[in-house]
Amino acid sequence: MSRILVVGNGPAAHRLADRLRHHGHTGPLTVLGAEPSPVHHRPLLSDVVAGLLPAEAVRLPPPPDTRVHTGTVVTGIDRPRHEVRAERDGIETVHSYDTLVLATGARAVVPAVVGATGADGRLAAGVTTLRTAADCARITGDSVVVLGGGPLGVETAFALAARSTHTTLVCAHPHPLHERLGAPCSGMLTEELERAGVTVLGGRTVVRRTPGRVLLDDGTTLRADTLVLCTGATPDVRLARAAGLPVRHGILVDDRLSAGDPHVHAVGDCAEHDGRTLGGIEVAHAQADALAGILTGRATAYLPAASTFRLRARAVDVSCIGSPADFDEPGARTVTFTDRSGRRHARLALRDEHLIAAVLFGVPEAIAALGVTHRQGRRVPSDRLGLLLGRPVTPAPTGAETDEDALICLCNSVRRRALAKAWRAGARTVTALADATRVATGCGGCGPAVARLCDTWERADRNAPEGAR
């Protein structure tokens, strides 16, 4: 009976435990989490920040049949003995394993802002990163400055504005998400943020923070009851490095998500696969799914998908597939559509009818359709403009009533021709036509259309010369 031990109690660990049980793993399954509280859905933290959900509402349900030790800090891994040492409330515990999975996640990066950290190196009161539900409660006051123009910074700014907090978003690039979205589109995002009530200060950064204030590098001073640092995260590789596992930016894993030791794997934000540490919930889920398959003999490898990101903000629909560099790939053809007044933008990179990259802004139907198309590896629809606009091309709607073959009444399969024949035979009202052909006797929905036909024919009869009637 194989014992699986997971270090880290984040979304990747949770998903892995759930999938292992789903695939029939019957051996002991233990999760060690350093945080004192149960695991949360990280993508929902912006809803907690917005005040839409209490922190306890975004807890994941406990994974089935799994021992979860919270508040348990792992202090070391003894690979030869297949043991993990941990400490809880000052008491050391030892957990042995047959398979060890590192899901240690990532740690928020704290930039060099004078006054952001206290003498002990911890974040000062009124300064917070945003990785856990507990962090959400550290955001207080009427004025908040968010530092960082990545997805988390943008989502946090939208969420704060939604709860009527005076919010300023400070980012190094001219606009938030500038690198992902490109120039015209990220400018549109700034406009959407400002429309939502966020002040966007691009091309700047915070250099100093005092209680209630921050100072920017251009000399501007802003009121800031809280400074929220959304300045990225770095894989937490401390345990892996100490255990002598191969580490670069993240813990290096192969296609089987093995971390340089056949008994040790790594998934989620802490793992580096094929030179990339993608991070994010979708990758964490995909890697956990793959590892659960590998450990239960249902799969042999993790196949990474292109990185995608979908902004979680109700004010605007933004999504990216692939990276900006993919637009320059050999053989890539670009389709661009910009509608400034309609606040819509789409840029697709296609190769052989396949989507390799996309930047989509304000086109919700296309975001949904292309997301599925890309995930399923399908070719994109030939009607690309219809796709971008979310309007599949439909047959001309008005021509139907003039076509002899047009089906007027679906319920009783009555075509226009049959109505015309009944009209000529003397049925001159909707009721008479219904008696003659059963038109409009099913759901009645075509009644108005039949009445219009009656009008048309009556006018035609009136206008026709006497002999032609």
Partner: protein
């Protein structure tokens, strides 16, 4: 089609098809024919769809079964007498039972049987046969919502409110229900409401919707969870209702928390914005209804999916509030009554559980046996069919009112199982595909020839009335059951053959059950009373219960239950070998396996053959063309049909109706994975691929070959006028030998055409297109015989970008007729959420029929190639 004024006297009854049970007036007799008019009944209010208008044609179907048939040593079915047929059946049942025990004989019922038949069939199985092996085709229709409804509300009545209540709705969510085709007269009640339709296809119903959510097939539960998630986050819950009237919200909501709109979007393909709009519409003050259909139920996670939608309705405070609710749109005519009276594997009459000792004691008491004499629960429908002829499975099967050879999933396998039986007995009124495989075929009565009751989708008990006598030797199913039971040694008075007597017994058996009919009588129904169950037999005449749950739900504590469900996904995912989602469903002109409607000339002319509906891109990329033959293949098998292009289809999905036989059976590719709790097969999603079939090639459409070549079907011709019943054994068999059905046509041509070739009563020709009158089917039929060229498909043009930016439809690229392009194209309609369509996308110049050259794009503002 102009008809003389409808005469009196007339008989008030109901349409034989769907669960709406439209009220109708019948007039006529067997000689002059029966005519139908819609009645002013609350659910149909004087309307009828084409199936209802033409229902009398089934009474005179050209190949109507009019005498018992028995398969002789030569493998042919020939006419025989009732006594011989029943003796044979009883004798073989006795012999099999003696050798293998009572479970060797199985029974398969139907959701179209009257309450009386369903009741007596269950009693017959459990007492006369002593078998646990009984289930019915309703398992394929409503079982998921029934299971979910029982768990949530403590009782399962499709609509716990009258249909007419829907008229007051402000918003109606139709999930997986295409009512514009399956029950058209219902739409009258929805025309004032804003409709939200959830369907992978842009159905006729979706066309009427304010909001159409078009999910990837098999992801409905993710969508339901997402809608609940939005209700929670956006503060749209009815907290007071949840606290007072429900249990289990926390756990259900915790599951839904994992389904934030953007994640649901990535799984279902439904835009997050549309999800939010749907919940906003549903949560507006005043009435809202959540209604589910087969699209929600027919999945291997169908019960959970139905529960997901019930959770949403409960979270919004709808069920039992008197201002909205949840309902399941029951499909079959007596789908509701059919699941209440004991033909289900796990049930006894009154919607009682077969495993509940008190229920067993009560029913055993009514039946005059000891509780221990009642067998326990048996296999669910597909498990039963799957076990036929296997080592420990039944060796004999009696089928009443069902056609599993067409309607069951994994149809080729089911057909094999049926063929492996030692005894197959089918009671039907037409030679269905299953009847054609039988050893003994028993001709029975149909709707306008019999008395009885049915229970409609709103739980209202309705009277079915006879207007004409049955033809020749056809007998009621009740009498067949009685005569068989007696031959198996049962006392005759235990099996009354008079429907009224059976109903009296049903009343007693249902007394105190969840579906309590004890206060309902033929007299009350005949007096025109509107009686919805439960209607207990109380001191003061109980008025019936049109609206359930107003005060309490049917659980002992009176509270409804949320279900803690999560999305697992379909049993089979798409792959490179099977890259498309294959889904199945219904068309307006046909009903269920089509055994009835394919025999009505007018309906057969409306939809003469199976088809495969697919997006033009998918067709082009699969190498198939509009109206060309194509094959849909799954790991289970292949169906063959003509292609219909539809640009509103999801490019990852194809659709086929399941009403057709032979190699046009959509169920040849469906997946038999069952919902673990309801036993419902996952009809609605299979992984498939689409391929062209060259019409002349050996791999192309071939004569439908029965897997039971030894079980040849010989069609008995219609009775000659004036022929007296019971005298024609020999002459009939002679004629059978002379007039077999034209075999090669049987897989392709619908029944009535075969009927035409055999000589049809003149009444049936009424309304047929002229081409059909001359014995030649219209164009689409002829292809396979004439070897029409399939029209080789050009690959997708490499440079459609110019055309696409001009908004031209894919038509010209795909070899569509030029029609839609000949005029100016309409701009996109205004978007209710995004405002008017954008300015910088000019419509092409009037009259332009070809895409602009790519350079022209340079001139367009804000659009860069």
């Amino acid at each position: 089609m102009s008809e003389p004024p409808f005469p009196t006297p007339r008989t008030r009854t109901h349409c034989p098809y769907c669960a709406l049970q439209c009220g109708t007036l019948l007039h006529g007799d067997r000689e002059t024919g029966v005519r139908v008019r819609p009645a002013d009944f609350p659910v149909n209010r004087g309307k009828l769809c084409q199936k209802g208008w033409t229902a009398p044609d089934v009474l005179t179907a050209a190949d109507r079964l009019t005498r018992p048939l028995s398969r002789g040593p030569d493998g042919r079915l020939t006419g025989t007498s009732w006594d011989t047929a029943l003796d044979t059946v009883a004798e073989r049942i006795r012999a099999l039972r003696a050798r293998h025990g009572p479970d060797t004989v199985a029974v398969f019922g139907g959701g179209g049987l009257t309450n009386e038949k369903a009741y007596l069939l269950g009693k017959f199985a459990r007492l006369a046969l002593g078998t646990s092996q009984i289930d019915y085709n309703g398992r394929f229709c409503m079982s998921s919502a029934a299971t979910a409804g029982n768990e949530a509300f403590g009782v399962d009545r499709g609509l716990p409110f009258p249909v007419a209540d829907l008229r007051d709705a402000r918003t109606v969510l139709l999930a997986g229900a295409n009512v514009a085709e399956t029950m058209p007269p219902l739409l009258q009640h929805l025309d004032r409401a804003e409709l939200i339709v959830i369907d992978p296809r842009r159905t006729a119903t979706a066309h009427r919707a304010t909001l159409h959510l078009q999910p990837v097939p098999g992801t409905d539960l993710a969508l339901a969870l997402g809608l609940l998630h939005i209700a929670v986050v956006d503060g749209l819950l009815d907290q007071d209702y949840i606290r007072r009237r429900t249990h289990g919200f926390e756990e259900a909501a915790r599951r839904a928390m994992a389904w934030w709109p953007e994640r649901v979007e990535s799984v279902t393909g439904v835009p997050a914005r549309d999800q939010r709009a749907a919940v906003r519409l549903l949560a507006r003050p005043r009435n809202a209804y959540v209604l589910t259909g087969r699209g929600v139920e027919q999945h291997s996670q169908g019960t959970d999916t139905a529960a997901g939608f019930i959770n949403l309705a409960l979270a919004l405070g709808l069920p039992g509030s008197g201002r909205g609710g949840y309902g399941c749109l029951t499909g079959q005519g007596n789908g509701q009554g059919g699941r209440e009276h004991g033909q289900k594997a796990d049930q006894l009459p009154g919607y009682r559980s077969l495993t509940d000792p008190a229920a067993r004691a009560h029913v055993a008491g009514v039946w005059g046996v000891a509780p221990d004499d009642l067998p326990g629960p048996g296999r669910s429908a597909y498990e039963l069919l799957d076990a036929l002829g296997a080592d420990h499975g039944p060796r004999a099967l009696l089928v009443f009112g069902s056609n599993p050879a067409v309607s069951a999933p994994h149809a080729a396998h089911v057909t094999e199982r049926l063929a492996s039986l030692e005894l197959l007995v089918v009671a039907d009124f037409v030679p269905s595909e299953t009847a054609r495989m039988a050893d003994v075929v028993l001709p029975v009565t149909q709707w306008a020839e019999e008395e009885g009751t049915l229970t409609s989708l709103e739980g209202r008990v309705l009277r079915r009335r006879a207007v004409i006598p049955p033809p020749a030797q056809a007998r009621s199913d009740l009498r067949v059951l009685r005569d068989l039971a007696v031959r198996l040694g049962q006392p005759p008075d235990r099996y009354p053959s008079d429907p009224r007597e059976v109903f009296e017994e049903l009343r007693a058996a249902s007394r105190g059950g969840r579906a309590d009919y004890s206060g309902i009588t033929y007299e009350r129904l005949d007096a025109g009373e509107c009686l919805h169950w439960p209607c207990p037999d109380t001191e003061e005449r109980h008025p019936g219960t049109p609206r359930l749950f107003l005060d309490r739900f049917a659980h002992p504590d009176g509270k409804a239950r949320f279900a803690a469900v999560d999305h697992r996904g379909p049993a089979e995912d798409i792959s490179s070998a099977y890259p498309l989602h294959g889904t199945t469903g219904r068309v307006l002109a046909h009903y269920q396996s089509g055994a009835q409607t394919r025999r009505v000339a007018e309906l057969s002319a409306a939809v003469p053959e199976p088809f495969i509906e697919v997006h033009p891109d998918t067709a082009a990329r699969s190498g198939v063309v509009d109206r060309g033959l194509a094959r849909v293949t799954s790991p289970r098998g292949s169906m063959t049909a003509r292609v219909r292009l539809d640009p509103t289809m999801r490019p990852d999905t194809l659709f086929a109706p399941f009403h057709f036989p032979g190699d046009g059976r959509a169920n040849l590719f469906t997946h038999p994975a069952l919902d673990p709790r309801s036993g419902m097969p996952g009809f609605k999603v299979s992984a498939v691929r689409l391929e062209p079939v060259s019409e002349g090639a050996p791999g192309g459409r071939r004569p439908a070959r029965s897997p039971t070549a030894s079980r040849e079907w010989e069609a008995p011709p219609p009775d000659a006028p004036g022929e007296s019943p019971g005298t024609s054994g020999t002459s009939a068999s002679t004629r059978h030998a002379e007039s077999p059905l034209p075999g090669p046509l049987s897989g392709l041509l619908p029944g009535p055409l075969s009927g035409l070739l055999l000589g049809l009563p003149p009444g049936l020709l009424f309304g047929l297109p002229p081409g059909l009158l001359f014995g030649l089917p219209p164009g689409p039929f002829l292809g396979p015989f004439l070897g029409l060229p399939p029209g080789p498909l050009p690959g997708l043009p490499p440079g459609p970008l110019s055309g696409l930016l001009l908004g031209l439809p894919p038509g010209p690229l795909l070899g569509l007729p030029p029609g839609p392009l000949s005029g100016p194209l309409p701009g996109p309609p205004p978007d209710p959420l995004l405002g008017p369509p954008p300015g910088p996308l000019p419509a092409p110049p009037s009259g332009r029929t070809t895409p602009l050259p790519a350079q022209a794009l340079d001139a367009m503002p804000e659009v860069t190639p």
